[in-house]
């Protein structure tokens, strides 16, 4: 029994559920013979990976679906060994170079070199190039991106790159200009409703329209999340009712509780308590930037117009520092403290206004 999100993933460009026009364009691209480097970008859960796999299948046939996980070790010039795991078929190689941390440049260069310089595919096969799929390119260091740009040109003859990322903002211009950019927008609420209903139908379940809509809205246009939630609903209660509770992940609930704790009291002791809760979230693998974003949206629900703008600016300010700094807790805590002070002042002012 596998997850619905994987079980009902479309496997051909002709069968995707939404963005059909784009799918048609991608098929044209495959057919026109000269295949450029691709840069596929879009938010999480929009179906980037699905489209890429469909595209590869279109290029090479079903062979690309035979995947193997491999572990490779690459030695840097400074003799440091880097372990990295790749997923590969006979035709393509998928790797997340940001796994290698600061040595991502070496990983990219070495991997591409081995792939590109290895013997060419036999001429009887359909394509004379192989594909290297790099995920999370936006997490690459600038150094690695520049290296990537050079290697891209160098090995154009024998391999193509498909770069996959959430946002092109962090990708240097020379790479963008060397790739054909494909934007994959998140599916609309209607798209998600449609997919949810059809999946439920295939599972032999009936999904009330209202519930589908609520699921879609709650997912924030993230199809994977919507499907996971739907599946969790199924575990929780069946037959579905249109007003049933939609299960939330523990960390989201925990984060909301944390936000409530911040709003209900603004003292140094409470700050210490919140610090403990932040630590708890971190140990449960919730990345600091997600915590910051989640906290912001929960806190925003608790304040008024003018305050909202200010709080949002603060969040942006500290999140930026968090990205640059080395210890996230300083910045998260500074944000919480700042919010506490702002909120306290706001409440006190409000109280005074009521008095007079």
């Amino acid at each position: 029994m596998s997850l619905w999100a994987d079980k009902y993933r479309p496997c051909a460009l002709g069968r995707v559920d939404y963005h059909r026009e784009q799918a048609a364009q991608l098929r044209n691209l495959v057919q026109c013979g000269d295949f450029p480097h691709l840069l596929v970008y879009g938010p999480s859960g929009a179906g980037k990976k699905t489209r890429i796999m469909c595209l590869l299948r279109e290029l090479y046939g079903a062979g690309v679906e035979k995947l193997r996980i491999e572990h490779q070790s690459i030695t840097t010039p400074s003799k440091k060994k880097i372990e990295i795991s790749t997923i590969a078929s006979n035709y393509h190689l998928e790797v997340n170079p940001s796994d290698a941390g600061n040595s991502d440049r070496v990983v990219i260069q070495e991997l591409l070199k081995t792939v590109a310089q290895s013997q060419q595919l036999e001429t009887s096969t359909q394509r004379d190039f192989k594909v290297v799929l790099l995920t999370e390119v936006d997490k690459l260091t600038k150094d690695a991106q520049h290296a990537l740009r050079r290697t891209m040109e160098k090995y154009m003859a024998t391999c193509r790159l498909i770069l996959c990322c959430n946002s092109v903002s962090k990708i240097i211009a020379p790479i963008q200009s060397r790739c054909l950019a494909v934007r994959v927008p998140a599916p609309s609420i209607e798209d998600i409703c449609h997919v949810l209903s059809s999946v439920c139908k295939k599972e032999g379940l009936t999904l009330p329209q209202d519930l589908a809509r609520r699921l879609a809205e709650k997912s924030g246009r993230n199809l994977r999340k919507a499907l996971l939630m739907c599946e969790a609903c199924r575990v929780q209660q069946y037959p579905f009712t249109s007003d049933q509770d939609i299960p939330e992940t523990d960390w989201e609930v925990y984060l909301r509780e944390t936000a409530n704790a911040i709003v209900s009291q603004q003292t140094p002791q409470r700050l210490l308590e919140v610090r403990g809760r932040l630590y708890e979230l971190l140990t449960h693998c919730i990345p600091p930037e997600i915590i910051m974003k989640g906290l912001l949206s929960e806190l925003l629900n608790n304040c008024d117009g003018q305050l909202k703008g200010e709080v949002a600016q603060m969040a942006a300010f500290y999140e930026h520092r968090l990205q640059l700094g080395s210890k996230a807790i300083y910045h998260l805590e500074a944000f919480v403290a700042k919010f506490m002070a702002l909120y306290k002042k706001f409440m006190e002012d409000g109280l005074e206004d009521m008095m007079f």
Binding site: R9, K66, D99, L228, L272, R277, I290, G325
Partner: protein, 691 residues
């Protein structure tokens, strides 16, 4: 250990022997041997032979060496004569540390109670031993120069206990070089492989044990009680403490005499005692441990005074004996190290020196001026001033005054201030009045420097503890902002080494300044004691990284980027009833995917920081990025151990996540075999069947 040794030798001028170092040391060729040879040179070798026999229980090999060296020396006796002439003139300024070494318990600059403690232990172990009782072990710890060795020396002398001491044989190597120049002497020393040190040590311990009934020539017969002393720990044990433990176990089983370890604390980081004698071994072998404190200033003054008066009466014309204030300064400057205090006393009282440079008197003048102003202040402040003063004394012979982390944090967080008198300083204009602060009595930068910690680490300690000291949320905002800025400052790898100091400065001063509750001298009371804690960040960060890596490798078959995996898939998997194939996965999901809701936070224990803690040396150099390189394997292998192995371990046909319904669904978690993980070094190719 070697480094500690050599650093100690740096403090003490090389030709000087430690007065606390026991005289039996000389057999192993400490520089004493030179002077002893000089003294007895007329009586010739016979005398020396006899002396050597006194110590017939020393390891055979080192005995030979000493013998050989003595021969070599006498052969080049002319050379020594030249030497001796020079030395003759200086013999009256024999190092004071040696000259005035304590002879009785009363002269010891150690607290009475400590001496009693040691004495009673010795008595209990030597005179009241049960016949079947095994060997017993005592560990003496304390900062250098607090009289550990001297205490043992005097007590054993008074109790008529014979002492056998271990000296690292490896030091012979460099001694050989030293003597080569002086005596032009070709060595016939047998080189000792360093590995054999442990074996030698073991031999020494057990042999010293075995032969304790032997009568020794030249020793009074009554002294057949014996004590083994180890001050010089073989280096090998720092790397491999298990072997030490093994030897100790054997010793305790077989031995009939007590064993005393003397271990100096070092401020530079690793606490040797904790490293070598873990709690477990201490309990297992009933090791007693007595810790010495730095010599108290009053005691120190007593000793210094005694020496000063004695010197004045003996060589009044040669020495300008310092007055009381300078003695006090010396006393403060050496931070409880009596050896260093006596050395600086001797150095500073050399007449030629003081007349030529006049450095000491100038300093004296300065400091008396200081103490004059000080006199006008209250007593309480005087105490706080100590740190400021320390800096001025250090120029001559003073020791680096270090502060334990605990005190450093306290100084920052309790930030002592002194009220301004209106006439002295201009006030801030009214619109800036909220920034008005009394003068700080501490130098934050100095404190950080003296805590021997990199700035960013110090910041972490500060961050862990600062909140307790604030009462107003607005102050807290400013303080937290400064801490955030401090972290931001040392974010860049290239500039980190330099900016670290600035970052610590920003953080400490920021925290101090933003605490308006402690802005003025008059509002500083009533804080009470707050416990300090060690930063949790390392633990948290480590756990975060480990969990992320574990997630990545356990669920790699989902082919998801880490972000989705951690925030979407795992939490939902915890809610779904999907059968996980793999125990490790189930355990991990329950552990990480679930959070303790509606409950108070209590998962993380706070570790209290005590006044002797030296920070976390192990963590200092681990930067976040490095973790990824080393942890995954351990974590995984461990996780995999829990896993219920499946039948086909060698193959894991992984179908694509896009696989059509008929094939094995891609999302089904595929077990990663432990083997596959451990063989990461090779490129692993998995055969698969097409059907």
């Amino acid at each position: 250990m070697m480094s500690k040794n050599s650093s100690r030798r740096k403090i003490v001028p090389t030709k000087v022997t430690d007065w606390v170092a026991p005289s039996f040391d000389d057999f192993f060729g400490n520089t004493n041997i030179l002077s002893s040879t000089l003294l007895v040179k007329s009586s010739g070798e016979a005398n020396q032979h006899q002396k050597r026999k006194d110590h017939s229980s020393v390891p055979e090999s080192s005995k030979n060496k000493v013998l050989a060296r003595i021969k070599g020396k006498s052969s080049s006796i002319d050379h020594i004569c030249d030497h001796s002439k020079q030395n003759q003139s200086q013999s009256q300024n024999e190092p004071w540390v040696d000259k005035y070494k304590p002879g009785t318990q009363n002269e010891l600059a150690v607290h009475k109670k400590k001496i009693e403690e040691v004495e009673s232990w010795l008595k209990a172990q030597i005179f009241q031993r049960q016949p079947k009782q095994g060997g017993s072990v005592l560990v003496l710890t304390g900062p250098p120069g607090c009289g550990k060795s001297a205490t043992i020396q005097i007590l054993t002398k008074e109790l008529h206990v014979q002492v056998q001491e271990w000296t690292n044989p490896i030091s012979l190597d460099f001694r050989k070089e030293d003597f080569k120049d002086a005596f032009n002497y070709e060595s016939s020393f047998q080189m000792l492989p360093s590995q054999a040190q442990t074996t030698l040590f073991q031999d020494f311990l057990l042999r010293a044990n075995k032969y304790n009934k032997l009568q020794m020539l030249g020793e009074s017969t009554e002294a057949d009680d014996k004590l083994i002393l180890i001050e010089d720990m073989p280096n090998q044990f720092y790397r491999d403490r298990d072997s030490l433990h093994e030897i100790l176990r054997r010793f305790v089983r077989t031995s009939r005499c007590p064993l005393v370890f003397i271990i100096s604390d070092s401020l530079s980081g690793d606490s040797n005692q904790k490293l070598l004698f873990t709690k477990e071994i201490q309990e297992e072998l009933c090791i007693s441990s007595i810790s010495f404190n730095p010599v108290a200033p009053t005691m120190m003054m007593k000793v210094l005074n005694r020496i000063a008066t004695a010197e004045a009466s003996m060589n009044g014309e040669k020495f300008a004996v310092p007055d009381k204030t300078s003695l006090e300064l010396i006393c403060k400057g050496c931070s409880g190290d009596i050896r260093s205090a006596i050395n600086s006393l001797q150095f500073s009282s050399l007449k030629e020196y003081s007349s030529e440079n006049n450095l000491w008197s100038r300093k004296k003048g300065k400091s008396t001026l200081k103490s004059n102003t000080e006199a006008s202040r209250t007593k309480k402040k005087k105490k706080a001033d100590k740190t400021l003063e320390n800096q001025e004394i250090q120029a001559i012979g003073g020791k680096d005054a270090s502060i334990f982390l605990f005190h450093a944090l306290g100084k920052i967080l309790y930030c002592k201030r002194e009220s301004l008198s209106d006439s002295e300083f201009p006030r801030l204009p009214s619109h800036l009045s909220e920034y008005e602060r009394d003068t700080l009595l501490v130098q934050p930068e100095d404190i950080v420097e003296k805590s021997h910690m990199p700035g960013d680490l110090f910041n972490l300690y500060l961050h862990q503890n600062y909140v307790d000291f604030f009462t107003d949320i607005d102050d807290l905002v400013r303080a937290s902002e400064y801490l955030s800025t401090a972290d931001f400052l040392c974010s860049n790898w290239n500039s980190r080494p330099t900016l670290r100091e600035y970052s610590a400065s920003v953080a400490t001063r920021g925290v101090i300044h933003s605490n308006t509750a402690r802005a003025f001298a008059h509002c500083q009371g009533g804080m009470g004691f707050r416990p300090f804690h060690k930063p949790q960040w390392f633990l948290i960060n480590k756990k975060y990284q480990e969990n992320c890596l574990a997630a990545k490798s356990l669920f790699s078959s989902f082919c998801l980027p880490p972000l989705c995996l951690q925030t979407q898939l795992l939490p939902f998997l915890a809610m779904l009833t999907n059968p996980m194939r793999n125990q490790a996965q189930i355990a991990f999901i329950q552990d990480v995917g679930r959070l303790p809701l509606k409950r108070h936070f209590g998962g993380l224990k706070l570790e209290t920081l005590t006044d002797k803690d030296l920070g976390m040396p192990g963590f200092e150099n681990i930067d976040e990025g490095d973790l990824s390189a080393m942890r995954p394997l351990e974590v995984l292998v461990q996780l995999e151990k829990n896993q219920i192995n499946e039948t086909e371990l060698d193959e894991f046909p992984l179908t694509s996540s896009q696989a059509s319904g008929s094939e094995l669904p891609g999302s089904q978690p595929q077990p990663i075999t432990a083997q596959a993980i451990m063989e990461e070094d090779e490129l692993k190719i998995d055969e698969y069947d097409s059907d």
